[in-house]
Protein backbone atom coordinates (compact mmCIF):
# COMPACT_ATOMS: atom_id res chain seq x y z
CA UNK A 1 0.00 0.00 0.00
CA UNK A 2 1.15 3.51 -0.68
CA UNK A 3 0.70 6.47 1.52
CA UNK A 4 -0.15 9.63 -0.42
CA UNK A 5 2.84 11.86 -1.01
CA UNK A 6 1.87 15.45 -0.50
CA UNK A 7 3.52 18.75 0.19
CA UNK A 8 1.50 19.20 3.29
CA UNK A 9 -1.40 17.04 4.32
CA UNK A 10 -3.07 20.08 5.83
CA UNK A 11 -3.56 21.57 2.35
CA UNK A 12 -5.36 18.59 0.89
CA UNK A 13 -9.08 18.52 0.12
CA UNK A 14 -11.28 17.39 3.03
CA UNK A 15 -13.95 14.70 3.14
CA UNK A 16 -16.86 13.77 5.40
CA UNK A 17 -16.38 10.07 6.27
CA UNK A 18 -20.14 9.57 6.45
CA UNK A 19 -20.27 9.81 2.65
CA UNK A 20 -17.86 6.90 2.35
CA UNK A 21 -19.87 5.12 5.04
CA UNK A 22 -23.20 5.27 3.28
CA UNK A 23 -21.71 4.56 -0.13
CA UNK A 24 -19.93 1.47 1.16
CA UNK A 25 -22.90 0.26 3.17
CA UNK A 26 -25.09 0.46 0.05
CA UNK A 27 -22.49 -1.41 -1.96
CA UNK A 28 -22.28 -4.12 0.73
CA UNK A 29 -26.07 -4.34 1.04
CA UNK A 30 -26.40 -4.68 -2.72
CA UNK A 31 -24.04 -7.66 -2.66
CA UNK A 32 -25.39 -9.32 0.50
CA UNK A 33 -29.10 -9.44 1.31
CA UNK A 34 -28.35 -10.19 4.98
CA UNK A 35 -27.09 -6.66 5.58
CA UNK A 36 -29.57 -4.28 7.21
CA UNK A 37 -29.28 -0.84 8.74
CA UNK A 38 -30.68 -0.16 12.23
CA UNK A 39 -31.18 3.40 13.39
CA UNK A 40 -32.65 5.46 16.24
CA UNK A 41 -34.28 8.02 13.98
CA UNK A 42 -30.73 8.90 12.92
CA UNK A 43 -31.40 8.60 9.19
CA UNK A 44 -30.39 12.15 8.35
CA UNK A 45 -27.50 12.45 10.79
CA UNK A 46 -26.12 9.15 9.50
CA UNK A 47 -26.68 10.34 5.90
CA UNK A 48 -28.74 7.22 5.24
CA UNK A 49 -31.51 8.79 3.13
CA UNK A 50 -30.17 7.27 -0.08
CA UNK A 51 -29.82 3.88 1.63
CA UNK A 52 -33.43 4.04 2.78
CA UNK A 53 -34.50 4.86 -0.76
CA UNK A 54 -32.55 1.95 -2.22
CA UNK A 55 -33.47 -0.57 0.51
CA UNK A 56 -36.67 0.66 2.14
CA UNK A 57 -37.36 -2.60 4.01
CA UNK A 58 -33.80 -2.98 5.17
CA UNK A 59 -33.46 0.20 7.14
CA UNK A 60 -35.01 -0.55 10.52
CA UNK A 61 -35.88 2.65 12.35
CA UNK A 62 -36.94 1.88 15.94
CA UNK A 63 -37.39 5.54 16.79
CA UNK A 64 -35.50 7.38 19.50
CA UNK A 65 -34.85 4.28 21.60
CA UNK A 66 -31.20 3.22 21.78
CA UNK A 67 -31.61 0.31 24.20
CA UNK A 68 -34.24 -1.19 21.94
CA UNK A 69 -32.12 -0.41 18.87
CA UNK A 70 -29.17 -2.49 20.09
CA UNK A 71 -31.37 -5.31 21.41
CA UNK A 72 -33.22 -5.40 18.08
CA UNK A 73 -29.89 -5.60 16.25
CA UNK A 74 -28.94 -8.60 18.38
CA UNK A 75 -32.25 -10.29 17.54
CA UNK A 76 -31.82 -9.53 13.83
CA UNK A 77 -28.41 -11.21 14.02
CA UNK A 78 -30.01 -14.22 15.72
CA UNK A 79 -32.26 -14.41 12.65
CA UNK A 80 -29.27 -14.47 10.30
CA UNK A 81 -29.10 -10.80 9.35
CA UNK A 82 -25.97 -8.63 9.57
CA UNK A 83 -27.14 -5.43 11.25
CA UNK A 84 -25.15 -2.22 10.94
CA UNK A 85 -26.37 -0.06 13.80
CA UNK A 86 -25.93 3.56 12.88
CA UNK A 87 -26.41 6.17 15.56
CA UNK A 88 -24.71 9.14 17.19
CA UNK A 89 -21.90 7.54 19.13
CA UNK A 90 -22.72 9.37 22.36
CA UNK A 91 -26.22 7.84 22.54
CA UNK A 92 -25.35 4.49 21.00
CA UNK A 93 -22.57 3.74 23.46
CA UNK A 94 -23.79 5.67 26.47
CA UNK A 95 -27.48 4.88 26.51
CA UNK A 96 -27.18 1.29 25.33
CA UNK A 97 -23.95 0.26 27.03
CA UNK A 98 -25.51 -2.70 28.87
CA UNK A 99 -27.17 -3.91 25.66
CA UNK A 100 -23.78 -3.66 23.95
CA UNK A 101 -22.23 -5.69 26.76
CA UNK A 102 -24.93 -8.38 27.16
CA UNK A 103 -26.82 -8.62 23.85
CA UNK A 104 -23.88 -8.02 21.51
CA UNK A 105 -20.53 -8.76 23.16
CA UNK A 106 -21.37 -11.45 25.73
CA UNK A 107 -23.99 -13.03 23.48
CA UNK A 108 -21.33 -12.78 20.75
CA UNK A 109 -23.80 -11.77 18.05
CA UNK A 110 -22.81 -10.59 14.59
CA UNK A 111 -23.67 -6.95 15.16
CA UNK A 112 -21.72 -4.01 13.73
CA UNK A 113 -22.00 -0.85 15.81
CA UNK A 114 -21.24 2.31 13.88
CA UNK A 115 -20.72 5.27 16.19
CA UNK A 116 -21.52 8.34 14.13
CA UNK A 117 -20.09 11.79 14.83
CA UNK A 118 -17.92 10.60 17.71
CA UNK A 119 -15.45 12.55 19.82
CA UNK A 120 -16.19 16.26 19.92
CA UNK A 121 -17.70 16.36 16.42
CA UNK A 122 -20.83 17.99 17.81
CA UNK A 123 -18.67 20.85 19.11
CA UNK A 124 -20.89 23.57 20.51
CA UNK A 125 -23.66 21.11 21.41
CA UNK A 126 -21.50 20.29 24.39
CA UNK A 127 -20.45 17.31 26.52
CA UNK A 128 -23.88 15.63 26.45
CA UNK A 129 -23.38 15.19 22.71
CA UNK A 130 -19.65 14.62 22.75
CA UNK A 131 -18.60 10.99 22.66
CA UNK A 132 -15.10 11.04 24.03
CA UNK A 133 -15.73 8.05 26.34
CA UNK A 134 -16.89 5.52 23.71
CA UNK A 135 -13.48 4.00 22.97
CA UNK A 136 -12.59 3.51 26.63
CA UNK A 137 -16.01 2.00 27.42
CA UNK A 138 -16.06 -0.43 24.52
CA UNK A 139 -12.41 -1.36 24.88
CA UNK A 140 -13.25 -2.64 28.37
CA UNK A 141 -15.77 -5.16 26.99
CA UNK A 142 -14.60 -8.67 26.05
CA UNK A 143 -15.35 -9.94 22.51
CA UNK A 144 -15.52 -6.35 21.23
CA UNK A 145 -13.36 -5.10 18.37
CA UNK A 146 -12.78 -1.35 18.33
CA UNK A 147 -11.84 0.44 15.10
CA UNK A 148 -11.23 4.16 14.62
CA UNK A 149 -10.73 4.96 10.91
CA UNK A 150 -8.82 8.07 9.90
CA UNK A 151 -10.22 8.97 6.50
CA UNK A 152 -12.92 7.99 3.98
CA UNK A 153 -10.72 5.28 2.47
CA UNK A 154 -10.09 3.62 5.80
CA UNK A 155 -13.75 4.01 6.80
CA UNK A 156 -14.83 2.13 3.68
CA UNK A 157 -12.13 -0.52 4.11
CA UNK A 158 -13.01 -1.11 7.77
CA UNK A 159 -16.69 -1.47 6.89
CA UNK A 160 -15.90 -4.05 4.23
CA UNK A 161 -13.76 -5.92 6.72
CA UNK A 162 -16.53 -5.79 9.36
CA UNK A 163 -19.15 -7.10 6.93
CA UNK A 164 -16.93 -10.03 6.02
CA UNK A 165 -15.95 -10.91 9.60
CA UNK A 166 -18.08 -12.69 12.18
CA UNK A 167 -18.75 -11.08 15.54
CA UNK A 168 -19.19 -7.77 17.35
CA UNK A 169 -17.41 -4.70 15.97
CA UNK A 170 -17.50 -1.02 16.89
CA UNK A 171 -16.44 1.46 14.21
CA UNK A 172 -16.30 5.20 14.65
CA UNK A 173 -17.53 7.21 11.65
CA UNK A 174 -16.61 10.86 11.79
CA UNK A 175 -18.55 13.80 10.46
CA UNK A 176 -15.57 16.13 10.91
CA UNK A 177 -13.97 16.60 7.50
CA UNK A 178 -10.51 15.11 7.07
CA UNK A 179 -7.99 14.88 4.24
CA UNK A 180 -7.23 11.50 2.72
CA UNK A 181 -4.34 9.81 4.50
CA UNK A 182 -4.32 6.61 2.49
CA UNK A 183 -4.11 5.77 -1.18
CA UNK A 184 -7.08 4.14 -2.87
CA UNK A 185 -5.52 0.66 -2.76
CA UNK A 186 -5.50 0.62 1.06
CA UNK A 187 -6.93 -2.54 2.55
CA UNK A 188 -7.76 -2.79 6.23
CA UNK A 189 -5.97 -5.38 8.32
CA UNK A 190 -7.31 -5.99 11.83
CA UNK A 191 -4.90 -5.30 14.68
CA UNK A 192 -2.13 -3.90 12.48
CA UNK A 193 -0.51 -0.52 12.85
CA UNK A 194 0.47 1.24 9.65
CA UNK A 195 3.67 3.24 9.56
CA UNK A 196 2.39 6.26 7.69
CA UNK A 197 5.69 8.08 8.16
CA UNK A 198 9.09 6.63 8.96
CA UNK A 199 11.17 8.17 11.72
CA UNK A 200 13.55 7.23 14.51
CA UNK A 201 13.66 10.10 17.02
CA UNK A 202 10.18 9.99 18.44
CA UNK A 203 6.88 8.22 17.67
CA UNK A 204 3.40 9.65 17.36
CA UNK A 205 0.61 7.06 17.52
CA UNK A 206 -2.77 8.28 16.39
CA UNK A 207 -6.01 7.42 14.61
CA UNK A 208 -9.32 8.91 13.53
CA UNK A 209 -9.60 12.60 12.82
CA UNK A 210 -6.31 13.31 14.60
CA UNK A 211 -4.10 11.12 12.38
CA UNK A 212 -3.64 13.74 9.68
CA UNK A 213 -2.78 16.28 12.36
CA UNK A 214 -0.11 13.88 13.61
CA UNK A 215 1.30 13.75 10.08
CA UNK A 216 1.26 17.54 9.89
CA UNK A 217 3.03 17.60 13.27
CA UNK A 218 5.73 15.31 11.85
CA UNK A 219 6.20 17.75 8.97
CA UNK A 220 6.85 20.53 11.48
CA UNK A 221 9.18 18.38 13.53
CA UNK A 222 11.16 17.56 10.38
CA UNK A 223 11.73 21.29 9.90
CA UNK A 224 13.44 21.24 13.33
CA UNK A 225 15.51 18.24 12.32
CA UNK A 226 13.42 15.80 14.40
CA UNK A 227 12.54 12.59 12.64
CA UNK A 228 9.12 11.51 13.90
CA UNK A 229 7.63 8.11 13.20
CA UNK A 230 3.89 8.27 12.74
CA UNK A 231 1.95 5.08 13.43
CA UNK A 232 -1.64 4.89 12.36
CA UNK A 233 -3.49 2.68 14.84
CA UNK A 234 -6.98 2.16 13.42
CA UNK A 235 -7.56 -0.92 15.57
CA UNK A 236 -7.56 0.11 19.24
CA UNK A 237 -8.63 -3.42 20.17
CA UNK A 238 -6.93 -5.77 19.54
CA UNK A 239 -3.88 -3.51 19.69
CA UNK A 240 -0.75 -4.06 17.60
CA UNK A 241 1.50 -4.53 20.62
CA UNK A 242 4.48 -5.42 18.45
CA UNK A 243 4.45 -2.06 16.70
CA UNK A 244 4.06 -0.25 20.02
CA UNK A 245 6.93 -2.15 21.63
CA UNK A 246 9.13 -1.49 18.57
CA UNK A 247 8.36 2.23 18.84
CA UNK A 248 9.17 2.17 22.55
CA UNK A 249 12.44 0.42 21.86
CA UNK A 250 13.56 2.32 18.78
CA UNK A 251 12.57 5.93 19.51
CA UNK A 252 12.94 8.34 22.42
CA UNK A 253 9.29 8.15 23.42
CA UNK A 254 5.69 7.91 22.27
CA UNK A 255 3.06 10.63 21.96
CA UNK A 256 -0.49 9.34 21.54
CA UNK A 257 -3.05 11.68 20.04
CA UNK A 258 -6.76 10.91 19.76
CA UNK A 259 -10.16 12.56 19.77
CA UNK A 260 -11.17 10.91 23.04
CA UNK A 261 -10.65 11.01 26.78
CA UNK A 262 -6.99 11.02 27.71
CA UNK A 263 -7.31 7.78 29.66
CA UNK A 264 -8.60 4.36 28.73
CA UNK A 265 -8.59 4.85 24.96
CA UNK A 266 -5.74 4.50 22.48
CA UNK A 267 -3.38 6.29 24.87
CA UNK A 268 -4.38 3.97 27.68
CA UNK A 269 -3.90 0.91 25.50
CA UNK A 270 -0.46 2.08 24.40
CA UNK A 271 0.57 2.93 27.97
CA UNK A 272 -0.56 -0.48 29.26
CA UNK A 273 1.49 -2.17 26.57
CA UNK A 274 4.60 -0.08 27.11
CA UNK A 275 4.54 -0.50 30.88
CA UNK A 276 4.28 -4.26 30.62
CA UNK A 277 6.66 -4.89 27.73
CA UNK A 278 9.16 -2.07 27.36
CA UNK A 279 8.83 0.90 29.73
CA UNK A 280 9.28 4.16 27.83
CA UNK A 281 8.29 7.79 27.90
CA UNK A 282 4.64 8.24 26.93
CA UNK A 283 2.59 11.41 26.58
CA UNK A 284 -1.15 10.94 26.12
CA UNK A 285 -3.02 13.70 24.31
CA UNK A 286 -6.79 13.80 24.54
CA UNK A 287 -9.55 15.35 26.61
CA UNK A 288 -8.95 15.23 30.37
CA UNK A 289 -12.30 16.86 31.20
CA UNK A 290 -15.73 17.80 29.84
CA UNK A 291 -14.94 20.25 27.08
CA UNK A 292 -16.11 23.87 27.27
CA UNK A 293 -18.21 25.47 24.56
CA UNK A 294 -16.48 25.59 21.21
CA UNK A 295 -16.41 24.19 17.70
CA UNK A 296 -14.86 20.77 17.14
CA UNK A 297 -11.81 22.34 15.50
CA UNK A 298 -11.41 24.81 18.32
CA UNK A 299 -11.62 22.07 20.94
CA UNK A 300 -9.05 19.86 19.21
CA UNK A 301 -6.65 22.81 19.08
CA UNK A 302 -7.35 23.79 22.66
CA UNK A 303 -6.45 20.34 23.99
CA UNK A 304 -3.23 20.10 22.03
CA UNK A 305 -4.54 17.96 19.20
CA UNK A 306 -3.43 20.43 16.51
CA UNK A 307 -0.31 19.90 14.39
CA UNK A 308 1.54 22.40 16.55
CA UNK A 309 0.19 20.95 19.79
CA UNK A 310 1.27 17.42 18.89
CA UNK A 311 4.69 18.69 17.68
CA UNK A 312 5.14 20.58 20.95
CA UNK A 313 4.30 17.49 22.99
CA UNK A 314 6.86 15.50 20.98
CA UNK A 315 9.59 18.12 21.44
CA UNK A 316 8.88 18.29 25.15
CA UNK A 317 8.89 14.52 25.51
CA UNK A 318 12.30 14.32 23.85
CA UNK A 319 13.82 17.14 25.89
CA UNK A 320 12.20 16.77 29.31
CA UNK A 321 10.93 13.20 29.26
CA UNK A 322 7.37 14.33 30.10
Amino acid sequence: MTVLETRSIADQPRYDCRDAYVETLAELAEADHRIVGVVNDSVGSSKLNSFRKAFPDRLINVGIAEQDMVGVASGLANGGRIPFVSAASCFLTGRALEQIKADVAYSNTNVKLCGMSPGVAYGELGPTHHSIEDIAWLRAIANMTVIVPADPIETAAALRWAAASEGPVFIRVSRMSVPKVYADDYSFELGKAITVREGNDVTVISNGTVLWRALAAAERLAEDGISARVLSMPTVKPLDTEAVVAAARETAGIVTAEEAVSGGGLGGAVAETVVQHHPARVKILGFPEFAPTGSAGYLLDRYGLSAEGIADAARKLITTGK
Partner: protein, 292 residues
Protein backbone atom coordinates in the same frame (compact mmCIF):
# COMPACT_ATOMS: atom_id res chain seq x y z
CA UNK B 1 -25.11 -30.51 50.43
CA UNK B 2 -23.41 -31.19 47.13
CA UNK B 3 -25.12 -31.59 43.82
CA UNK B 4 -24.10 -34.86 42.14
CA UNK B 5 -25.30 -36.97 39.20
CA UNK B 6 -27.46 -38.90 41.66
CA UNK B 7 -29.60 -35.78 41.85
CA UNK B 8 -29.90 -35.45 38.07
CA UNK B 9 -32.10 -38.37 37.12
CA UNK B 10 -35.22 -36.92 35.54
CA UNK B 11 -36.86 -38.80 32.68
CA UNK B 12 -36.45 -37.39 29.17
CA UNK B 13 -39.97 -36.92 27.90
CA UNK B 14 -39.56 -35.53 24.40
CA UNK B 15 -42.51 -34.50 22.25
CA UNK B 16 -45.72 -36.34 21.47
CA UNK B 17 -46.55 -37.11 17.84
CA UNK B 18 -48.06 -34.10 16.12
CA UNK B 19 -51.48 -35.78 15.65
CA UNK B 20 -51.91 -36.41 19.39
CA UNK B 21 -55.18 -35.23 20.87
CA UNK B 22 -55.43 -32.11 22.98
CA UNK B 23 -56.10 -34.23 26.06
CA UNK B 24 -52.96 -36.25 25.39
CA UNK B 25 -50.93 -33.09 24.90
CA UNK B 26 -52.22 -31.51 28.10
CA UNK B 27 -51.47 -34.67 30.07
CA UNK B 28 -47.99 -34.78 28.57
CA UNK B 29 -47.30 -31.15 29.52
CA UNK B 30 -48.60 -31.79 33.04
CA UNK B 31 -46.28 -34.75 33.49
CA UNK B 32 -43.35 -32.72 32.08
CA UNK B 33 -44.08 -29.81 34.43
CA UNK B 34 -44.19 -32.18 37.39
CA UNK B 35 -40.89 -33.84 36.50
CA UNK B 36 -39.26 -30.47 35.79
CA UNK B 37 -40.34 -29.16 39.19
CA UNK B 38 -39.02 -32.22 41.02
CA UNK B 39 -35.70 -32.01 39.19
CA UNK B 40 -35.42 -28.24 39.66
CA UNK B 41 -36.14 -28.60 43.37
CA UNK B 42 -33.28 -31.11 43.62
CA UNK B 43 -30.95 -28.76 41.73
CA UNK B 44 -31.66 -25.79 43.94
CA UNK B 45 -31.62 -27.77 47.19
CA UNK B 46 -28.38 -29.63 46.47
CA UNK B 47 -26.58 -26.77 44.71
CA UNK B 48 -27.61 -24.50 47.57
CA UNK B 49 -28.58 -21.68 45.23
CA UNK B 50 -31.08 -20.67 42.59
CA UNK B 51 -34.35 -18.80 42.18
CA UNK B 52 -36.90 -21.45 43.01
CA UNK B 53 -39.83 -19.08 43.47
CA UNK B 54 -39.52 -17.67 39.96
CA UNK B 55 -38.64 -21.10 38.56
CA UNK B 56 -41.89 -22.62 39.84
CA UNK B 57 -43.84 -19.61 38.65
CA UNK B 58 -42.56 -20.11 35.09
CA UNK B 59 -42.29 -23.89 34.71
CA UNK B 60 -45.82 -24.51 33.43
CA UNK B 61 -45.24 -21.91 30.72
CA UNK B 62 -41.86 -23.42 29.78
CA UNK B 63 -43.24 -26.97 29.75
CA UNK B 64 -46.13 -25.91 27.50
CA UNK B 65 -43.85 -24.08 25.06
CA UNK B 66 -41.24 -26.82 24.74
CA UNK B 67 -43.70 -29.68 25.19
CA UNK B 68 -46.24 -28.74 22.56
CA UNK B 69 -45.94 -25.25 21.06
CA UNK B 70 -42.47 -24.36 19.80
CA UNK B 71 -41.37 -25.75 16.46
CA UNK B 72 -37.98 -26.76 17.76
CA UNK B 73 -36.43 -30.10 18.63
CA UNK B 74 -32.90 -31.13 19.60
CA UNK B 75 -32.37 -31.98 15.91
CA UNK B 76 -33.44 -28.52 14.71
CA UNK B 77 -31.85 -26.46 17.47
CA UNK B 78 -29.69 -24.63 14.91
CA UNK B 79 -32.17 -24.64 12.04
CA UNK B 80 -32.58 -21.03 10.83
CA UNK B 81 -36.33 -21.66 10.49
CA UNK B 82 -36.85 -22.83 14.07
CA UNK B 83 -39.19 -20.94 16.35
CA UNK B 84 -37.31 -18.81 18.85
CA UNK B 85 -37.92 -18.75 22.59
CA UNK B 86 -36.11 -16.07 24.56
CA UNK B 87 -36.08 -16.25 28.34
CA UNK B 88 -35.84 -12.62 29.36
CA UNK B 89 -36.11 -13.34 33.08
CA UNK B 90 -32.72 -15.04 32.90
CA UNK B 91 -32.51 -15.62 36.66
CA UNK B 92 -34.81 -18.63 36.26
CA UNK B 93 -32.05 -20.34 34.29
CA UNK B 94 -32.44 -23.44 36.48
CA UNK B 95 -36.00 -23.88 35.22
CA UNK B 96 -34.84 -23.41 31.63
CA UNK B 97 -31.98 -25.92 31.90
CA UNK B 98 -34.28 -28.47 33.49
CA UNK B 99 -36.89 -27.93 30.78
CA UNK B 100 -34.24 -28.26 28.06
CA UNK B 101 -33.13 -31.54 29.68
CA UNK B 102 -36.71 -32.81 29.88
CA UNK B 103 -37.09 -32.40 26.15
CA UNK B 104 -33.71 -33.78 25.14
CA UNK B 105 -31.75 -30.57 24.37
CA UNK B 106 -29.37 -31.05 27.27
CA UNK B 107 -28.04 -34.32 28.73
CA UNK B 108 -29.81 -34.86 32.06
CA UNK B 109 -26.54 -35.69 33.83
CA UNK B 110 -25.17 -32.28 32.82
CA UNK B 111 -27.69 -30.73 35.21
CA UNK B 112 -25.42 -31.99 37.99
CA UNK B 113 -22.91 -29.27 36.99
CA UNK B 114 -25.44 -26.48 37.72
CA UNK B 115 -23.55 -23.44 39.08
CA UNK B 116 -20.33 -25.40 39.59
CA UNK B 117 -16.98 -23.91 38.54
CA UNK B 118 -16.62 -23.84 34.73
CA UNK B 119 -20.08 -25.35 34.19
CA UNK B 120 -21.98 -24.35 31.05
CA UNK B 121 -24.95 -23.96 33.38
CA UNK B 122 -24.29 -20.50 34.76
CA UNK B 123 -26.72 -18.69 37.03
CA UNK B 124 -27.95 -16.91 33.91
CA UNK B 125 -28.12 -18.62 30.50
CA UNK B 126 -25.36 -18.41 27.88
CA UNK B 127 -26.29 -19.11 24.25
CA UNK B 128 -22.70 -19.90 23.37
CA UNK B 129 -22.56 -22.73 25.90
CA UNK B 130 -26.04 -24.25 26.03
CA UNK B 131 -27.88 -25.49 22.93
CA UNK B 132 -31.37 -24.04 22.88
CA UNK B 133 -30.51 -20.78 24.62
CA UNK B 134 -31.13 -17.88 22.22
CA UNK B 135 -29.79 -14.87 24.14
CA UNK B 136 -27.55 -14.21 27.12
CA UNK B 137 -30.03 -12.69 29.49
CA UNK B 138 -29.86 -11.76 33.14
CA UNK B 139 -29.96 -7.99 33.28
CA UNK B 140 -33.69 -7.28 33.05
CA UNK B 141 -35.39 -5.66 30.11
CA UNK B 142 -33.13 -7.22 27.47
CA UNK B 143 -35.14 -10.13 26.08
CA UNK B 144 -38.06 -8.23 24.61
CA UNK B 145 -35.97 -5.99 22.32
CA UNK B 146 -33.99 -9.04 21.15
CA UNK B 147 -37.26 -10.85 20.46
CA UNK B 148 -38.51 -7.87 18.45
CA UNK B 149 -35.28 -8.00 16.43
CA UNK B 150 -35.74 -11.68 15.72
CA UNK B 151 -39.39 -11.21 14.78
CA UNK B 152 -38.29 -8.45 12.40
CA UNK B 153 -35.76 -10.78 10.80
CA UNK B 154 -38.52 -13.37 10.27
CA UNK B 155 -40.73 -10.73 8.70
CA UNK B 156 -37.92 -9.62 6.37
CA UNK B 157 -37.41 -13.27 5.41
CA UNK B 158 -41.18 -13.68 4.81
CA UNK B 159 -40.86 -16.63 7.19
CA UNK B 160 -43.60 -18.17 9.30
CA UNK B 161 -41.25 -18.83 12.21
CA UNK B 162 -42.55 -17.46 15.50
CA UNK B 163 -40.88 -15.63 18.36
CA UNK B 164 -41.86 -16.08 22.00
CA UNK B 165 -40.35 -14.15 24.89
CA UNK B 166 -41.02 -14.73 28.58
CA UNK B 167 -40.68 -11.66 30.78
CA UNK B 168 -41.21 -11.26 34.48
CA UNK B 169 -43.82 -8.76 35.62
CA UNK B 170 -41.40 -6.82 37.83
CA UNK B 171 -39.10 -6.73 34.82
CA UNK B 172 -41.64 -4.62 32.97
CA UNK B 173 -40.53 -1.72 35.15
CA UNK B 174 -37.52 -1.48 32.80
CA UNK B 175 -38.23 1.12 30.13
CA UNK B 176 -36.51 -0.84 27.36
CA UNK B 177 -39.52 -3.19 27.26
CA UNK B 178 -41.85 -0.36 26.36
CA UNK B 179 -39.46 0.92 23.69
CA UNK B 180 -39.51 -2.56 22.19
CA UNK B 181 -43.30 -2.84 22.43
CA UNK B 182 -43.71 0.39 20.48
CA UNK B 183 -41.41 -0.96 17.76
CA UNK B 184 -43.23 -4.32 17.68
CA UNK B 185 -46.48 -2.52 17.16
CA UNK B 186 -45.07 -0.13 14.56
CA UNK B 187 -43.70 -3.05 12.54
CA UNK B 188 -46.90 -5.10 13.03
CA UNK B 189 -45.01 -8.12 14.29
CA UNK B 190 -47.96 -10.46 14.69
CA UNK B 191 -45.79 -13.55 14.98
CA UNK B 192 -44.25 -12.17 18.17
CA UNK B 193 -45.74 -13.27 21.50
CA UNK B 194 -44.77 -11.66 24.77
CA UNK B 195 -45.65 -13.81 27.78
CA UNK B 196 -45.69 -12.07 31.14
CA UNK B 197 -45.11 -14.25 34.19
CA UNK B 198 -47.55 -12.22 36.28
CA UNK B 199 -46.77 -13.50 39.76
CA UNK B 200 -47.12 -10.02 41.26
CA UNK B 201 -43.99 -10.40 43.37
CA UNK B 202 -40.56 -8.97 42.79
CA UNK B 203 -37.35 -9.46 44.76
CA UNK B 204 -38.55 -8.15 48.11
CA UNK B 205 -42.13 -6.99 47.79
CA UNK B 206 -45.24 -7.03 45.66
CA UNK B 207 -45.21 -5.18 42.34
CA UNK B 208 -48.17 -3.20 43.64
CA UNK B 209 -46.17 -1.91 46.60
CA UNK B 210 -43.11 -1.22 44.46
CA UNK B 211 -44.12 0.25 41.12
CA UNK B 212 -47.58 -0.94 40.25
CA UNK B 213 -47.94 -2.20 36.69
CA UNK B 214 -51.71 -2.16 36.60
CA UNK B 215 -53.72 -1.62 34.60
CA UNK B 216 -51.33 -3.90 32.68
CA UNK B 217 -53.83 -5.22 30.08
CA UNK B 218 -54.86 -1.69 29.18
CA UNK B 219 -51.26 -0.54 28.99
CA UNK B 220 -50.28 -3.37 26.65
CA UNK B 221 -53.37 -2.76 24.52
CA UNK B 222 -52.52 0.93 24.34
CA UNK B 223 -49.08 -0.05 23.07
CA UNK B 224 -50.72 -1.89 20.18
CA UNK B 225 -50.83 -5.49 21.41
CA UNK B 226 -53.63 -8.03 21.31
CA UNK B 227 -53.94 -8.88 25.00
CA UNK B 228 -54.98 -12.26 26.39
CA UNK B 229 -55.09 -13.28 30.04
CA UNK B 230 -54.64 -16.89 31.13
CA UNK B 231 -54.12 -18.95 34.22
CA UNK B 232 -50.38 -19.47 33.93
CA UNK B 233 -50.56 -22.80 35.73
CA UNK B 234 -53.36 -24.26 33.58
CA UNK B 235 -51.70 -26.30 30.85
CA UNK B 236 -54.84 -26.49 28.74
CA UNK B 237 -55.35 -22.74 28.74
CA UNK B 238 -51.67 -22.11 28.05
CA UNK B 239 -51.64 -24.61 25.19
CA UNK B 240 -54.76 -23.17 23.59
CA UNK B 241 -53.56 -19.58 23.79
CA UNK B 242 -49.89 -20.03 22.92
CA UNK B 243 -50.66 -22.21 19.88
CA UNK B 244 -53.34 -19.88 18.59
CA UNK B 245 -51.34 -16.70 18.10
CA UNK B 246 -51.74 -14.29 16.40
CA UNK B 247 -55.15 -13.29 17.69
CA UNK B 248 -55.37 -10.13 15.62
CA UNK B 249 -53.69 -9.89 12.22
CA UNK B 250 -50.99 -7.23 12.28
CA UNK B 251 -50.80 -7.11 16.07
CA UNK B 252 -48.23 -8.74 18.32
CA UNK B 253 -49.70 -10.75 21.19
CA UNK B 254 -49.34 -10.01 24.90
CA UNK B 255 -50.22 -12.98 27.08
CA UNK B 256 -50.60 -12.14 30.74
CA UNK B 257 -50.10 -15.45 32.51
CA UNK B 258 -51.39 -15.17 36.06
CA UNK B 259 -49.05 -17.20 38.22
CA UNK B 260 -47.85 -17.68 41.77
CA UNK B 261 -44.22 -17.62 42.74
CA UNK B 262 -43.32 -21.01 44.20
CA UNK B 263 -46.46 -22.72 42.84
CA UNK B 264 -47.73 -25.24 43.91
CA UNK B 265 -45.73 -25.76 47.08
CA UNK B 266 -47.88 -24.82 50.07
CA UNK B 267 -45.24 -22.91 52.00
CA UNK B 268 -43.62 -21.25 48.96
CA UNK B 269 -46.62 -20.26 46.87
CA UNK B 270 -47.14 -16.52 46.63
CA UNK B 271 -44.57 -16.00 49.39
CA UNK B 272 -42.08 -13.25 48.66
CA UNK B 273 -39.46 -14.93 50.87
CA UNK B 274 -38.95 -17.58 48.18
CA UNK B 275 -37.40 -15.34 45.51
CA UNK B 276 -34.05 -16.99 45.99
CA UNK B 277 -34.33 -18.84 49.27
CA UNK B 278 -33.00 -22.40 49.29
CA UNK B 279 -35.18 -25.11 50.86
CA UNK B 280 -33.59 -26.82 53.86
CA UNK B 281 -33.76 -30.59 54.37
CA UNK B 282 -37.22 -30.60 55.95
CA UNK B 283 -38.64 -28.14 53.41
CA UNK B 284 -37.09 -30.17 50.60
CA UNK B 285 -38.76 -33.38 51.80
CA UNK B 286 -42.06 -31.60 52.26
CA UNK B 287 -41.90 -30.07 48.77
CA UNK B 288 -41.01 -33.44 47.22
CA UNK B 289 -44.00 -35.01 48.97
CA UNK B 290 -46.33 -32.28 47.67
CA UNK B 291 -45.04 -32.65 44.10
CA UNK B 292 -45.45 -36.46 44.10
Amino acid sequence: MTLTVEHATMPVLGRLPIHSSRAEQVAHIAEAAKQIRIQDLKLVHHAGAGHIGGDFSAIDILATLYGAVLDITPATVNDPERDRFILSKGHVAGALYTTLAAFGFLPVEELATFLKPLSALNGHPNRNKVAGVEANTGPLGHGLPVAVGHALSAKLDVSMRRTYVLVGDGELQEGSNWEAMMAASQYQLDRLTVIVDRNRLQQGATTKETNDLDPLPEKAAAFGFAVVEVNGHDHGELLDVLSAVPFRPGKPTFVIAHTHKGHPISFMSNNVAWHHRVPDAAEYQQALKELA
